[in-house]
Symmetry: C2
Subunit: 249 residues, 2 copies
Amino acid sequence: MRRIRLRVAYDGTRYCGWQMQNNGPTVEGELHKALTQVLGADVALTGASRTDAGVHSLGNIAIFDTDSRIPADKFCYALNQWLPDDIIIQESDEVPPNWHPRKQKSRKTYEYRILNRHMPDPTRRLDTHFYYRPLDVEKMRQAASYLEGEHDFTSFASVHMTVPTAVRTIYSCTVEKKDDIITIRVCGSGFLYNMVRIIAGTLIEVGTGAREPEDILRILEAKDREEAGPTAPARGLTMIGIVFGDVSQ
Amino acid sequence: MRRIRLRVAYDGTRYCGWQMQNNGPTVEGELHKALTQVLGADVALTGASRTDAGVHSLGNIAIFDTDSRIPADKFCYALNQWLPDDIIIQESDEVPPNWHPRKQKSRKTYEYRILNRHMPDPTRRLDTHFYYRPLDVEKMRQAASYLEGEHDFTSFASVHMTVPTAVRTIYSCTVEKKDDIITIRVCGSGFLYNMVRIIAGTLIEVGTGAREPEDILRILEAKDREEAGPTAPARGLTMIGIVFGDVSQ
């Protein structure tokens, strides 16, 4: 039995998120169908990140076990033959049989993109959040810097969060503007439910002047979801990738 | 009677091009429907550029005449209420009654984007042409420079071209690479049918090494469509905008 790892990119627009469910199509569901075609058997998949409905990814990670003799690095081509064109495996390789994407240290990077202009741009509607009012990027950048480090992020997590601790480390949180797109890039040890989207919603409020950058310190301190800004829409969020501490760089 | 001008952006993926026809939805058709809702009357539209099926635009121009008392700069908001989210009017203004977008000097700018990487990126599938083999951007840039100036572009036009002369002026043709996207940007006095897509298809062949940059000179000279490369797919093409010589900058 070999354990195969996939790096999966997708446009999440059409999907009810990563995880298989009965409400509609999911990324995991499409992968499972393709895997069933390639292997001729029903094989369980495990994903690194259960992204929400409408969220995109350039590099989510999934594993499965198989006795198939297909070379590990060829699985991506075999699966892409069966996948819809909004899901593409970027690469596949073999990992040790006990390797698990959620049971080891990793750094995850997300980007939240805001289209900040007078009118929506239809060619960017699927992967940006359109925001009409001008945003002060310098203030957003300052606010973002207060999120860096180890903190209890209870204020920046959905109240539906179920994990035992909300302490996470953000290695970096930067804000860049190019043309009319503002990109919030967050790299961290792990993220709570809706955390990046609540960070984005809060930084947007800083950008409009409704909050000051220093408010971030008070919001963190409060450990209360009510103190932070709204959850920004899923379409602006893209999971960029994961770096694992032990087996890959 | 006032003449109103619209600057129209669209994601062309779902459309059979700009011009109304019976085969399926068109950008002009959607605009016409929205205009009928806003004005309560059937009003004819005239577009500057009849973009093909699958081609995008950030700034196509359309005009119509009306007695409506809606302020000229408010038409964009009124129409956007009725338009699907892949067509957005960027702005509207009033022009002189004899102003016509196809009957005066103008500079049109198009971009052709090539996604040049190992695997397709599903988040960029709608507005780039995925090309697997590595492309030599420096050679493409050199080839592009030979297209600049006034030339007979018969070799770079569809054989279905119906205009009396194929002489056009290309003010600039540049090739830039950022991350894994190569952008060919062409600015000219006007373009023949499929011209930018044939330029892109030919520059791709230069990028692979199948042709040399200097071949462009011979291709222009031949005045024969057979001499140029293939027509690159529509999805990579975006009309960026038009600058008119007289009424706007």
